[in-house]
Symmetry: C2
Subunit: 142 residues, 2 copies
DNA sequence: CCGGATTTGTACGTATGTATT
DNA sequence: GAATACATACGTACAAATCCG
């Protein structure tokens, strides 16, 4: 099985231009052409390269952020997110865990990147612990 | 503790206009003014009501979608998402569970709304089960 | 430290396409 | 078919953060 990397944008395609740009960037990331931690080309550069508006580029990058693949720092650029080391979190008997997107408040509080869910663990007592989903994994524990 | 509902947008505020619009809409939802399943006013209506561009309204609604609060249907409108009934999913010993945003493929495959993470459960055998995070909760099981 | 260049964020406008009512 | 509503795509302009000489 080999991977086909798309390298150009077709404005007449059924697929929206910004999705095509996102496809290209995902390819460059999956490819290893752009390694974790490295910056993508600037929005202007991408727009010029692929012959699209800056708007389309921003929407494309927005998709990557929502998927948890990239994060953007104003004035600096967009970088491929580093996979973080996950630590185990025990799921005790009689406790429930759900995953959801954080509220705006939680995102600020926990300093979460876009596209990072939270895991809420609730005990039968009603106590709730919130964990950033990208730093933990759950294991059954008795 | 009482809730302060913002009702107007101040273009001179430090807070971006689209975030102010999002705040207002979140308030109307938390408030019960707009109940789950009901449609928000149209983008144009919101833009006129708050004296902002349609762009700002779309960004605001985009925030709500990313938070899992709303979903938009083209040609119809944006509705407040219904909290769905969750079913328990056992987390067996020697299995790990992580939460993350779905890939584009998974989102299409599972027909997920924006702002809905997935829970991936991996056994020691290497088998992986994917669940929409909004329909399940995890419980420890021996 | 300062100032300019670069880069992303916000905001608005216009136009056209597509889906639903 | 018409009206309504969201999606896409381009453009402009200015603000704000960062980088760099």
């Amino acid at each position: 099985m080999h991977i086909v990397i798309i390298v150009s944008v077709d404005p007449r395609s059924d697929r929206a231009v910004y999705r095509q740009v996102a496809d290209i960037l995902r390819g460059l990331i999956a490819d290893g052409t752009i390694v974790p931690g490295a910056l993508l080309p600037s929005e202007k550069q991408l727009a010029d390269t692929y012959g699209v508006g800056r708007d389309a580029v921003r929407q494309a990058i927005g998709l990557l952020r929502a998927e948890g693949l990239a994060r953007t720092i104003r004035g600096e650029g967009t970088q491929v997110r580093q996979p973080v080391e996950r630590r185990p979190v025990p799921l005790l008997p009689r406790t429930h865990a759900i995953a959801r997107m954080p509220t705006e408040h939680e995102r600020a509080e926990l300093d979460l990147d876009e596209g990072v869910p939270v895991i809420a663990i609730r005990t039968s007592k009603g106590h709730e612990d919130i964990h950033p989903a990208d730093t933990v994994y759950l294991v059954a524990k008795d």
